[in-house]
């Protein structure tokens, strides 16, 4: 009887030991899986808004070098989209190209090549400027895209003179949500009327700065594209 009890005890202790080992293994696996994160919060997402209105189409050459710079500096896992600003920018069709770079560097390089080719094609095909300029629509669209990516660092580059010219009936005079987004105005060219009254240029910048910052975003202006690498500092 004693032997039986002892054997049973041994069996139970064996099961108990195995259970403890299994639990330890499972907890280690749990910790590892909890620690592993497929989408890191410091991934970058970039949304580039290109103004194609009026005479600003002449500036698109600069935009191409900007795109080349951005493509060169983004890594695997980062996202990028390029949209055109025209009469009604708050539509999906305004997004010319968008991509999230693959985990594998070689595939990401291929994606970058394809992206560049697509944009060269699209930008090369623009002959006539758009009649209107809906910057607010593009900015809202950009914010939505950047939020969807879930990236930790979100940049919205606006390549425009920041002069908004809306179509009849378009409502854009409302506060916009720009939380978590750094808006960088690039190559903000001066208009003819700015030459008459330079305060207009400053007012335009202040207006947009106010809208972005009141929406919870950050605002920067970079006009010297030659020194783009030094000026753009990723967080």
């Amino acid at each position: 009887m004693k032997r039986t009890t002892k054997t049973t005890m041994n069996r139970y202790s064996g099961w108990l030991r195995r259970g403890v080992v299994l639990a330890a293994l499972l907890s280690v696996l749990g910790v590892i899986s909890a620690c592993s994160d497929t989408q890191r919060t410091d991934n970058r997402a970039v949304y580039l808004l290109l103004d194609t209105s009026g005479t600003y189409t002449e500036e698109l050459d600069k935009a191409q070098s900007l795109i080349a710079y951005l493509l060169g500096s983004l890594d695997s896992g980062d996202s990028m989209a390029v949209a055109l600003i025209d009469g009604g920018s708050f539509t999906e069709k305004n997004i010319v190209a968008k991509v999230t770079f693959d985990d594998r560097p070689s595939v990401a390089n291929g994606q970058k090549r394809a992206f560049k080719e697509t944009l060269d094609e699209v930008l090369g095909g623009i002959e006539r400027g758009a009649a209107n300029t809906d910057i607010t629509g593009g900015v809202i669209q950009g914010h939505d895209y950047l939020t969807e990516t879930g990236a930790g660092q979100r940049y919205l580059f606006v390549f425009s003179d920041l002069e908004e010219d809306l179509q009849e009936g378009q409502i854009r005079d409302f506060p916009i949500d720009m939380s978590g987004v750094e808006v960088v105005a690039l190559n903000v060219t001066k208009l003819r009327r700015d030459n008459i009254d330079p305060r207009d240029y400053a007012k335009r910048l202040e207006h947009w700065q106010g809208r972005v910052e009141s929406g919870g975003g950050q605002w920067r202006v970079i006009n010297d594209l030659e020194r783009l690498g030094e000026m753009i500092q990723w967080r």
Partner: protein
């Protein structure tokens, strides 16, 4: 609140403050005895507690020193035993290799000596000396000439025969001498062989002699370790420190090698496991590269363990030879596979760098330029990727020394730390004692005025009490008389 208190006694803050000060001094004066007791008791308590601590730390230190000594002596004993065993094995090898052939050698030497002796004997058998034919010839020639032609002819014939016999004998003698010289010349290789064999024996004996001297020295060291002599302990400590430093240096070099290895494979690893997944703050690709390097090191450790070069895992060392050999083959195979993977990753890294370069050129609008002699760094990287794992495999040797010497070093450091702590505790205790005395004096300084009054009031009373305690004054005349009687000068 403070202002209210300040003007409690008078509207003038100065006057009120003065009253407060007087009250404070009076209160302090009244509580003087208790305050002194408090300061002294606190000082003594802290001093006592610190002394207790110091004693406890001292005991702990003594125990640790004893433990360190035991550990060091145990390690030294093991090491000395291994060294002595190794030397005995060498002696055994010499005995087995050289002296097992000694009977054979002895036979060779004996044969050579026997042959030399025989040859000598053969050479020493003197050939028959030519008889004294010359005297006979001279005698025959000296015979008076006979007119008898027959007699003359007989004598002439006799002389010729004797001369011929003499020549023949001389020839035989010369031939025999030549033969003896030939035999003696033939003995030369035997002498050489004998000399060589004897030199070999001498070399073996000398080797054994040297080895025995080494064993003697080691036995002396071993005896000193067993006896636990201070000299042996100091020597072992110094040896451990040296080992620790050297092993640490080699490990640092290996670490740098590992770092280079890591950079060589971390980037291309993202092609295999992706570069956008993270464990904590580290990329999965970096973790994978690190794991590969650590696996290589582990395989190296197992390889050296199964070769019995290191003894980090006693279980591997105690395996039977067949199992150990299997383990050696498996670890070497895995190490080679990992090294091959690294070489391919290094090549991929080069390809990725090329692709990246080409992409940058494309993005900037420049024509893609084909780099010349690009194969040289490619091959260099591949070779480096293949070689480094094997180099890292040898890290087990310094690692073992480092781990073994670490015990001694940590022990010595902890003892030093405890010694320093004991000193600090004693200092704190002493300072607390002195501080309590200083506080007593400082307290008295604050109530110096009432104390001075008390002293002035108590002085006459004290002098009276003193006078009461003293005996009645001496009568000087009686003293003088007494001095005169005994004849002592006043």
């Amino acid at each position: 609140m403070f202002n209210q208190l300040l003007t409690l006694w008078s509207d003038s803050p100065a006057l009120s403050l003065a009253i407060w000060l007087v009250i404070l001094v009076v209160v302090l004066y009244l509580g003087r005895r208790h305050a002194h007791q408090l300061f002294r008791a606190s000082g003594r308590a802290v001093h006592g507690a610190m002394r207790l601590w110091s004693r406890s730390i001292g005991q702990l230190e003594s125990r640790l020193v004893a433990r360190n000594r035991d550990v060091l002596l145990a390690m030294g004993r093991r090491s000395a035993e291994a060294a002595i065993e190794r030397d005995f094995n060498r002696v055994h090898t010499i005995m087995e290799r050289d002296l097992s052939r000694y009977p054979n050698l002895h036979r060779k030497i004996a044969d050579a000596i026997e042959k030399i002796e025989a040859d000598y004997q053969e050479a020493s058998d003197a050939p028959p000396l030519p008889p004294a034919w010359s005297e006979v010839i001279e005698t025959v020639s000296g015979l008076p000439g006979s007119s008898d032609p027959a007699v003359h002819k007989v004598l002439e014939n006799i002389r010729e025969v004797i001369e011929d016999a003499h020549k023949e004998t001389l020839k035989l003698y010369q031939k025999s001498s030549r033969e003896r010289h030939r035999i003696l010349a033939g003995m030369q290789p035997q002498w050489r062989s004998l000399d060589q064999n004897l030199s070999q024996v001498k070399q073996t004996i000398d080797g054994l002699d040297e080895r025995s001297k080494t064993i003697d020295e080691q036995m002396q060291e071993y005896a000193a370790i067993r006896a636990g002599e201070d000299k042996a302990v100091n020597s072992l400590t110094a040896s451990s420190m040296t080992q620790f430093l050297i092993a640490g240096l080699v490990l640092a070099v290996a670490l740098m090698g590992g770092l280079i290895n890591f950079h060589l494979i971390a980037m291309p690893m993202s092609e295999m496991v992706g570069s956008n997944s993270y464990v904590g703050s580290m990329r999965i690709s970096d973790v994978a590269a690190l794991v590969i390097i650590l696996l290589e090191v582990a395989m190296g450790v197992f390889l050296l363990e199964s070769l019995r070069i290191t003894h980090l895992f006693p279980i591997i060392g105690s395996m039977d030879d067949r199992m150990r050999r299997r383990m050696m083959i498996v670890s070497l195979t895995l190490l080679t596979i990992l090294a091959s993977i690294e070489a391919s990753l290094a090549y991929m890294r080069d390809l990725l760098a090329l692709d990246r370069e080409a992409l940058n050129q494309t993005l900037t609008g420049a024509a893609v330029v084909e780099a010349q002699f690009r194969w040289i760094p490619s091959i260099g990287q591949m070779v480096l990727g293949f070689i480094l794992p094997f180099v890292l495999a040898f890290v087990a040797i310094p690692l073992e020394s480092f781990i073994h010497s670490l015990r001694t070093v940590v022990g010595v450091m902890v003892v030093a730390l405890l010694r320093g702590l004991r000193l600090v505790v004693r200092l704190v205790g002493g300072m607390a004692n002195h501080l309590s005395k200083m506080l007593v004096h400082l307290y008295d300084m604050l109530i110096v005025v009432p104390l001075a009054i008390e002293q002035r009031v108590n002085r006459p009373r004290a002098s009276e009490r003193k006078a009461d305690r003293e005996d009645p004054p001496w009568d000087d005349s009686e003293d003088l008389e007494a001095t005169k009687v005994v004849g002592v000068k006043p």
